[in-house]
């Protein structure tokens, strides 16, 4: 059987016309994350450690919708969420509504391992993060110019978008799908 790993950076209406300057940084991060995971599995790290370290790598890349580079709410703020689960023990942890925690996935693992609960949200999760001493930054750290522009376009079109649904040009949406979240 042996080890195996799979990772994703989000799904949606990713146009085949995605220009190289937007495609290559993402592909490079996918390859780097895969190499990290393979090296860790070959070194005997546990599956739980590997999925956490891969998601941290992806959270820290501004080109993906998580951590730095998270998309914006209608208020122009960042609300990050994450969860982690161990198949053997069925232990799991989840967090929502984070605006300062650099790696939400590591906080969800702390919820799993350090509390009797599964899910902490918003100010309770932020307080737990400070209590656990995880790395936090000012909310502005997570906001990129690209996502400010995406929010502006989504507001203009008056709709929400999946990770990579490209904003429609001026013409009205041609099908219901283009207006979905």
């Amino acid at each position: 059987m042996g080890w195996a790993i799979a990772l994703h950076g989000g799904a949606g209406d990713i146009p085949r016309s995605l220009p190289p300057e937007r495609r290559e940084p993402r592909m490079a991060t996918l390859r780097r994350s895969l190499d990290l995971a393979v090296a860790a599995l070959q070194a005997g790290r546990t599956a739980l450690d590997v999925v956490e370290l891969v998601v941290r790598e992806l959270e820290n890349c501004p080109h993906f919708n998580a951590g730095k580079g998270s998309v914006l709410t209608s208020d122009g703020t960042v609300e990050m969420e994450a969860s982690i689960m161990d198949g053997n023990t069925m232990s799991c942890g989840a967090v929502s509504g984070l605006s300062t925690v650099v790696n939400a996935i590591s906080l969800s693992r702390l919820v799993m391992e350090k509390t009797p609960h599964i899910y902490l949200g918003f100010h309770g999760a932020e307080a737990f993060a400070r209590d656990q001493g995880v790395e936090t930054r000012d909310p502005s750290h997570f906001i990129t110019d690209e996502n400010i522009e995406r929010l502006r376009q989504a507001k203009q079109a008056n709709r929400v978008q999946i990770d990579y649904t490209q904003p429609m040009k001026a013409q009205p949406p041609t099908d219901d799908n283009s207006r979905i979240g």
């Binding site: 949606g12 998580a66 709410t73 689960m85 198949g87 978008q161």
Partner: protein, 129 residues
């Protein structure tokens, strides 16, 4: 959204998913990612991480359904994952999954999904469409 699933050399399975959600979402909106059984699920049979339109993934309990088809219908991972994704409205979902047998599945019904995988026998893949 970003996610990762893995099985290690001792046969342990795990999954992790993290996201900023949907552009222009309402403040306070919770998506599928932190909902165990919707965007993220693992048991001794498989580990699953989903991405796409959170409201649809929650409604269809996507991650748990993959495990249920394996557990109760005896389907292999690839078939279970393909069946679950086919039942979700087009354009709404993608997922990566691994099974206790070391199978890998990366399936989606959107235009594309940023994805990568590798197995101990040397196979690896990185793709979008």
């Amino acid at each position: 959204t970003v996610g990762c699933v893995a099985i290690d050399s001792s046969g342990n399975l795990a999954t992790a998913t993290s996201t900023g959600g949907l552009v222009n979402k309402m403040a306070g909106r919770i998506g599928d990612t932190p909902i165990i059984g919707a965007g993220t699920y693992a048991n001794p049979l498989c580990a699953v991480s989903a991405t796409g339109k959170g409201e649809s993934i929650i409604r269809h309990t996507v991650a748990r359904d993959v495990a249920v088809l394996m557990e109760h219908r005896g389907l292999p991972l690839k078939e279970a994952a393909a069946r679950v994704v086919a039942d979700v409205p087009r354009g709404d979902v993608g997922l990566v999954a691994v099974s206790a047998a070391g199978e890998v599945s990366m399936v989606y019904n959107t235009a594309g999904m940023f994805r990568a995988c590798a197995t101990e026998d040397g196979y690896s893949e990185v793709g979008i469409w």
